[in-house]
Amino acid sequence: MRIRTIPAVAAGCALALLTGCGAADMTKQASPFANARGARTVTLSVQSWVGAQANVAVAQYLLEHELGYRVDTVQVDEVPAWDALSQGRVDAILEDWGHPEQEQRYVQDKKTIVNGGDLGVTGHIGWFVPTYFAERHPDVTDWKNLNKYAEQFRTPESGGKGQLLDGSPSYVTNDKALVKNLKLDYQVVFAGSEAAQITQIQQFAKEKKPFLTYWYTPQWLSEQVPMTEVKLPPYEEGCDADPEKVACAYPHTPLQKYLNADFARDGGKAAELLRNFEWTTEDQNEVSLMIAEQKLSPEEAAGKWVDSHRSVWEKWLP
């Protein structure tokens, strides 16, 4: 027994060295693709929604074809992306919907991340009903009348109440608190992923069934399934400070770009291009629709857009 413990302990130590202790120095460890020798490589974070894919696709296309960089993209969820950005494993996030906690930690305190300016697109989250339903029942667009329609929004999952469909867990949502604080007869059903939510919305729309969903703009699906926003109590600065007591609408957020601080300083032309990158909601939607509806690859979609919008992107070039 005694003899056997020694190799076991040794193995354990080796394992700890390889995994745990190795991890202790994570902050200094860069991705092999980020800031590699010669600094001709840029790593961009791609979030899961198509709008974000569109930003990255166009930025990647320009970096590769106009400036001759090599671009790597990584799929990371929003919050982990901030950590990766701070560590320099990712060079830039091109579309951020507001993460006050991370901004405080990395931009204000640690100064490992810098703001890269406006993306030019304004994001907005809200509750939406399909337009075909809103046209037949115009008063559904005021939250005060929602209880009247709860019956019609019922599904097997919502347990006798109306269903408010929520999507990906990585998105900002106050819906549970809103339903409670506005005393609505609704149950928040979490689809768990955006893909599931979109599929469900498409199925409802095919049958022209009523539904109430958490949704955001700009989003390509809104072109396929026209949706009308339900007015919630108006947003005021700070009304969403306490997540338990929120009883107001979501704000309109000018979406931001964020760069790793070292990259912003030493990134040369690439950093400059990303800082200058600024386009409109229509531009973004055009690329998104090519990806989502015409099923083009992001690269093809970006190429098409770049070919026909020279005047927009020429200003971004350093």
């Binding site: 894919q53 799929q75 990906s168 990585s170 893909a195």
Partner: protein
Amino acid sequence: MPVLLSLTHVQGLAGRRGLGRQDCQVEAAHQAGPQCLVGGEPLRHGAGGLGDRVYQALASVDVGAALAAGIPIVLLAVVLDRVTGAAGARLGEAPAPNARALGAYALIAAVAVAVAGRLAGRLEWPESWVVGIAEPVNRAVDWMTAHLYSGVPVVGGTADWAGRFTTWVLDPLRDGLLWLPWWAVLLVVAALAWLIGTWGTALTAVLAMAAIGVLGVWKPSLDTLSQVLAAVAVALVVGFATGIAAARSDRVERWLRPVLDVFQTMPQFVYLIPVVALFGVGRAPAVAAAVVYALPAVVRITAQGLRQVDPAALESARSLGATGAQQLRQVQLPLARPALLLAVNQGVVLVLAVVVIGGLVGGGALGYDVVFGLAQGDLATGLVAGAAIVCLGLMLDRVTQPTGRRARKGA
């Protein structure tokens, strides 16, 4: 069981890049199956490779593109499985006299061709040999979801089935479990574990269940448990029937093998979307995904168990004039009992392994908590839910594990 083994090897191939590395190892340790290769959670942290494409295609709900990326994963797994399976089968045999020389020649030839090809600059797969399957697949899925979702005469659409399954099976099961006082649940667990296993297993099961209470996630855990039980029941009914068919006919088994391979290795993300399109968001699609995932193991273990029944016992039954059904019911099934119990045990564990995947299509409860914790970097939520899933697994495993007592009785 070469298939099960080789699939775990495949996981190691995934995510050897950048950020994804650590996540994949964690996932593999979970024994969860091919998620790692699959483009499951690890991808949300940047694992790359084939899974990356699966994941990206999902943002635009492009099932065809996801499937196109998923098929190579299946093929990789099948190749590895057949190669290791064949190697395993040959282990005991004496090698043919010139087999080694032949193998060496083949290897040299392959290397020579590879070098020549490199020099000639033919590195990429020829463009004209690529067949685009994304579009026809998308059309097929669209047709399926458009015509089966609802309004099918007599039987009703898939959405109606899902609704009824939720209302008549899942809801009563969940409400029933939640209606029981906590100590009654512990008592039931203890009784079941003791009946099937030993005092030791009963103790572990009760402690695991109590730990869930201590973690403060009793309600979501019982919700998850109700889904797991429903999924296991469906998987066992279908799995036993298919397994028996496979054991009785070589042809059925030959046809079944690739199908089961696909079930086992196809990234769940690929079929999750059609499943949502058919059943709507909620617990029903989560159960469906779990059944698809657990089914291959149940079928394989059942079939193998039935086939391994002593031929002498069957022979004597036949000589006494037993019919096929009698042989099955009175000889094969009782003798294959350990294998059947193992199938139950594996079914339970595998279903539990995909609870997190269920969280992505509206399964809610613990699965959603894990997904939420991961997406928000909220360790407190994710870790507690993960620990609760482990505890549930421990409990279910002990409750369905017959080994201890069987060994004692057999002695």
